[in-house]
Subunit: 181 residues, 2 copies
């Protein structure tokens, strides 16, 4: 058995929401002591890096209630239980920005905040974009924004780009540009 | 007023833990309809990119209860309310890895999961490392691991490196290496 693993003694659901489920676990630590762990259960999410043929990345401006402000993010959305991440990525890209992708390639998947949440985010790269009509969900209000690499890094400096997946996407994009040179 | 903003009608605390507070808000959407928002409140966190003079990045292997597995992450820790992020970064680096940094430079700060959480993570770069003794918290069990850039990307491929801050740190590190060439 692992020397680092914690054994669950007791597990209690505290809250069952539309987006998250909150669970409080009592655990036995590797040193034999007990502690509690606060867990946020989430079905996971997808996000899409999409660069237009003009060399601009596609973002959406969105009000985020937890932050009480608008930020610029790459298109993203929550997975429904059992949903195929790639299909979800294609749908979210089109709904939020109007762009359809000929190809969607998985780049990397990561846990957004492994200390308390199990949310796994799948990042895709969209290529072969064609433009249609955006069609966001009825309770989703987003505005499409397109930025060059330089503009995007400026937006990160100014705090307009401010979330993990979008920051990671910018560095991945920059690395592509540096490698292709 | 912003066309995207949501107005809070009612706010209720569902759970108050040691690490998170869970809040359920009723909001008025830009189209006048109402909806609910599930919010996880968190005091924020710090993390540290530290590259040794041998050119290896410093990671910790840690069991994460929400994932029920061990992953490799850059050293990190939760901020206490009002705590200075830089002091927290220095402390977490030393406690978890034994390394002291002569300099800690802020690289970028990002929200880990802005759809439901307000956790803001501050990423620092440590330079001028000197080695001492690791001294983790009593309920924290971590093992130090050092990897080259190539090994770190392999660990990401294999899923051992699997969280947002560490993935971002790897691409930032790669970016540095590409730019310095």
């Amino acid at each position: 058995m692992s020397r680092l693993k914690e054994q669950t003694i007791r597990s209690e659901t505290i809250f069952e929401g539309r987006v998250i489920r909150v669970q409080l676990d009592e655990v036995r630590l590797p040193n034999g002591k007990t502690s509690t762990r606060e867990l946020v259960k989430h079905t996971g999410a997808v996000s899409v890096m999409a660069v237009t043929k003009e060399g601009k990345m596609v973002f959406v401006r969105q009000y985020r209630k937890p932050l009480d402000k608008e930020i610029l993010e790459i298109p993203a959305g929550k997975l429904e239980p059992g949903e195929d991440p790639k299909e979800c990525a294609a749908r979210e890209l089109e709904e939020e920005t109007g762009y359809r992708a000929q190809n969607l390639k998985p780049i990397v998947s990561f846990y957004t905040s492994p200390g308390f949440a199990d949310e796994l985010l799948h990042l895709y790269e969209a290529t072969g974009l064609s433009e249609g009509e955006a069609n966001p969900d009825s309770d989703e209000f987003v505005e499409r924004v397109e930025l060059t690499l330089e503009e995007a890094f400026q937006a990160m400096e100014s705090g307009e780009i401010a979330d993990a997946k979008t920051v990671a996407a910018l560095y991945i994009w920059h690395n592509r540009v540096l490698t292709e040179k």
